[in-house]
């Protein structure tokens, strides 16, 4: 034992006492569809978001193919507009928002707290059904007729002019939103009420802090989106003048309402990733996190300040100059806590014992990509600069660096990290490292050229473009195909590992979280004995890790 475990187990866990785990408990389809086990619901979410991800990724692939040449010659403008709408709506609401919270969060949050399940297991299942009811409605809208408004639904185009399935799509997002709200509610109450004995607030893993902050945003922001989309639909169906100036409405009002939700939603799509980062960086450098309180409060600060910066999406919309200045200033302030997090992760590496296992490669990838995404956020917050690059590919590149480079990278890192816990199998390490590398290179080749494209002035959502933009579009499309391989590889080896992967021990990474103190896969109610927490999290020792590594030259224990 080289790491101090923050729990006291009266006696070591014995395999024979827990013969069945949450997967083998019952093997019928019904037992999955009616499960209230947070772990199974996490798995259900994993399959669902994979489904939506594949549709949205195919749409992206078709767009990148179209954009290889300047002329709009592969698909019609109408189809192209529907493709980017599919990509945006499905990726944002049906992949990114549920990705880490609903899959990894559902699976590990109760275990991290030492709980048997979330506070409201049935509500948790209802969330999944609402999510998929919304998702299927959205898929119906995009397959039978299509939607061409973009994911932003700007009025009066969406409410009056578009001849597509706008209301169906809005209804899908509306319904799925209730799933998000209930998940947020469940997480908050679970964190308040179901912590194991001794699990004080400042003994909670930072992933819990980030999920807690995310949940607060989910509960406060999502209803605003629901109302906004409902108002837009009311105008579209019954012609009630809300946003269309010809009916006496105000189109800019829609943007205020939409971004009042959608900016905080950006943090729903990054905060959980930051939480995963804190778990990975500590475990794979065998160091307690540097500045635990600062990292925890940075999450809370981001959640609160995220509500105050929506106007930076509207610098060129015609809002008042003074509003532009205020939102610019606040946008710079919200960047401070994000910067603090990056500094703390870097400092955590100091005097560590750093392993480059797959999850750590993703964590390092996150640091690189998120930093570029964050830095370019500083460009956009400079209001005079934003006037030029607003609605260009610069914006597209920036938010993909945050959403994909940040959140998806963290999701992949977390998925590899907890995969042994979830499935009881190890993924193939070498292939994992290779895929992480391919993804990193493919991502940069896809999105870095888009910064230049944006500065050159190529507007986003362009089906055809001026010839001088071609070279960067070709680079971007080439990168996208590499990125595609990077995503396909894990899909294949994860499936392979289910049957052929090495059996995973309870704690393959020798990590300190409570989720590692129970067998892999865990039994139905997570713990045989309710754990008791006696100390702070992340009690890693770099020296002990080195000592063990030297003793066991292979160092396999740490991957």
């Amino acid at each position: 034992m080289n790491t101090a475990m923050p729990i006291e187990s009266p006696e070591p866990l014995r395999e024979e006492r827990v013969p069945k785990n949450y997967i083998t408990e019952s093997r019928t389809l019904k037992s999955w569809l009616f499960t209230t086990d947070h772990k199974r619901i996490g798995i259900l979410y994993l399959f669902s978001i994979l489904f939506y991800f594949i549709i949205a990724a195919i749409a992206a692939a078709l767009m990148r193919m179209e954009l290889i040449t300047p002329a709009g010659d592969m698909v019609t403008s109408e189809t192209y507009n529907k493709l980017f709408t599919i990509h945006g709506t499905l990726m944002v609401w049906f992949f990114l928002i549920p990705s880490i919270p609903a899959v990894l969060g559902n699976f590990v949050l109760p275990m991290m707290l030492g709980a048997r399940d979330v506070a409201f297991p049935k509500l948790n299942l209802l969330s999944w059904y609402l999510f998929n009811a919304g998702g299927l409605l959205a898929v119906y809208a995009v397959t039978f007729g299509g939607v061409d408004t973009g994911w932003t639904f700007y009025t009066p185009y969406s409410s009056t002019f578009s001849n597509s399935h706008v209301v169906e799509m809005a209804a899908g997002v509306f319904v799925a939103g209730f799933g998000t709200i209930l998940t947020g509610l469940n997480f908050i109450i679970t964190t308040h009420k179901l912590r194991a004995p001794g699990m004080r607030w400042f003994r909670m893993p930072l992933f819990v802090w980030s999920l807690y902050s995310t949940s607060v945003i989910m509960i406060l922001a999502t209803p605003v989106l629901a109302m906004t989309l409902a108002l837009m639909s009311i105008e579209r169906i019954w012609g009630v003048g809300i946003f269309d100036p010809r009916l006496g409405g105000d189109p800019i009002l829609f943007q205020h309402l939409f971004w009042f939700y959608s900016h905080p939603a950006v943090y729903i799509m990054i905060l959980p990733g930051m939480g995963v980062m804190s778990e990975l960086v500590t475990c794979f450098s065998r160091k307690p996190i540097f500045g635990y309180h600062f990292v925890a409060f940075a999450s809370v600060a981001i959640a609160i300040m995220g509500f105050l910066v929506w106007g930076h999406h509207m610098f060129t919309s015609g809002q008042s100059i003074y509003a532009g200045l205020v939102f610019s200033f606040l946008s710079y302030m919200v960047a401070v806590p994000s910067a603090i997090k990056v500094f703390n992760w870097t400092m955590t590496l100091y005097r560590g014992s750093i392993s480059f296992a797959t999850p750590m490669l993703y964590a390092l990838g996150f640091m690189g990509l998120f930093t570029i995404g964050g830095l370019t956020g500083l460009y956009l917050a400079a209001v005079g600069f934003d006037v030029h690059v607003q609605d260009t590919y610069f914006i597209v590149a920036h938010f993909h660096y945050i959403m994909v480079g940040g959140m998806v990278t963290a999701f992949m890192g977390g998925l590899h990290y907890w995969w042994p816990k979830i499935t009881g199998r190890m993924y193939p390490e070498k292939l994992g490292q290779l895929a992480a590398l391919i993804m990193y290179l493919g991502f940069n080749l896809t999105f870095f050229p888009q910064f230049i494209l944006g500065y050159l002035g190529m507007p986003r959502r362009y089906h055809a473009y001026a010839p001088e933009f071609q070279i960067y579009n070709v680079m971007s499309s080439a990168g996208a195909s590499i990125l595609g391989v990077g995503y396909l590889l894990p899909l294949l080896y994860f499936l392979w590992s289910l049957k052929y992967g090495k059996k995973a021990p309870a704690n393959p990474w020798k990590a300190t979280g409570l989720e590692w103190q129970t067998p892999s896969p865990p039994p139905k109610h997570n713990f045989v004995e309710t754990p008791v927490v006696t100390g702070p999290p992340y009690q890693y020792s770099a020296e002990a890790a080195e000592a063990e590594f030297t003793a066991n030259e292979k160092g396999e224990a740490y991957g």
Partner: protein, 318 residues
């Protein structure tokens, strides 16, 4: 194979934006060195199996945290101020600007010069003059984007927005619609042609314009029946329009407004919104009856009734 990095830099604002870009790039480079330098060093030195001193040390956590909170905050405030300065310049048109009207509709730009010249998807302007565009949309939101000048402004139905620039290089530059506006959004492009002043004068004359915008507005003023009440009527008591533009108008509510384009537009479309002190709400709404282009002409006419419009000053100067 060409790898363009900068769009043409054809205005003073473009230079300011580019300078801001260089500042941001410098700060990014410094940040990358400061963050990734130590990170790469740590990753190398403390990689597992490498001999290094790993004894835990007590670092002054509070001091370190405060340092790396305060320094970025100061840098951010500086960047904010710089960005704000550039924005201030972009957003406030100089008083002496030459005015041109733009109407966006799915999927074209209709441009009307005060002299009466009209063009579609092309904007001819003289070099070295401040140009102020008044932007209106007939349907959905568009955005008027001139990358060579680093300026952009959304064109919003139901209101006027403005955009100004001063081109300082002769040439032809891109005009893009940058707010998604429906099926042929990416075809809603055009060009700005920056010409020497003499050539621009020539172009204006060659365009063989019929009546000027104000003259057309005068015609419409009669056709829509505005003149019935607003010109020497004895039956209906309507506010006179001579010398109105640019003046401060007292309202019934006790407030004051400046009679600018937005005010005139509202008074035509929603007369009940701002009733002039001493008058009653008798005027019918013209919402849905007057197209955006006709509105701009009517406003041009009302402006021409005022002595102080810049376009007349410009005409005298010639």
């Amino acid at each position: 194979m060409k790898f363009p990095v900068f769009p043409p830099e054809a205005s003073e604002v473009a230079r300011h934006t580019d300078h801001l870009l260089f500042a941001l790039l410098t700060i990014s480079a410094i940040t990358m060195v400061v963050v990734f330098g130590p990170m790469i060093y740590f990753l190398f030195k403390y990689r597992r199996g490498n001999k290094a001193d790993r004894t835990p040390v007590e670092l002054p956590e509070m001091k370190i945290e405060i340092t790396w909170t305060v320094i970025p905050t100061i840098v951010f405030v500086g960047l904010f101020a710089w960005g704000a300065r550039v924005y201030w310049r972009i957003e406030r048109p100089p008083a002496d600007a030459m005015e041109i009207n733009v109407v966006g509709k799915q999927w074209m730009w209709k441009i009307e010069h005060p002299e009466g010249n009209r063009e579609i998807d092309e904007l001819h302007v003289p070099v070295g003059r401040n140009i102020k565009l008044t932007l209106a949309s007939q349907d959905v939101i568009h955005s008027f984007f001139l990358p060579a000048f680093r300026v952009k402004q959304d064109v919003v139905p139901g209101r006027y927005t403005t955009l100004w620039f001063r081109a300082d290089k002769i040439g032809t530059y891109h005009l893009f619609c940058s707010e998604y506006c429906g099926t042929h959004h990416s075809a809603m492009t055009g060009s700005v042609i920056v010409m020497p002043p003499e050539a621009y004068e020539q172009w204006l004359k060659q365009g063989a314009p019929g009546p000027s915008m104000a003259q057309e507005g005068e015609k419409l003023f009669r056709e829509y029946g505005c003149s019935g009440c607003h010109v020497n009527s004895t039956i209906v008591h309507a506010p006179p329009l001579n010398g109105l533009f640019g003046r401060t108008v007292p309202l019934q509510t006790g407030k004051f407004v400046t009679a600018d384009e937005a005010y005139l537009r509202d008074s035509i479309l929603i007369p009940s919104k701002d009733i002039v002190a001493g008058y009653t709400n008798d005027m019918p709404s013209f919402q849905g009856h007057v197209s955006e282009e006709d509105l701009l002409k009517l406003i041009a006419y009302i402006r021409s009734l005022s002595d102080t419009t810049p376009q007349q000053e410009g005409a005298e100067a010639k």
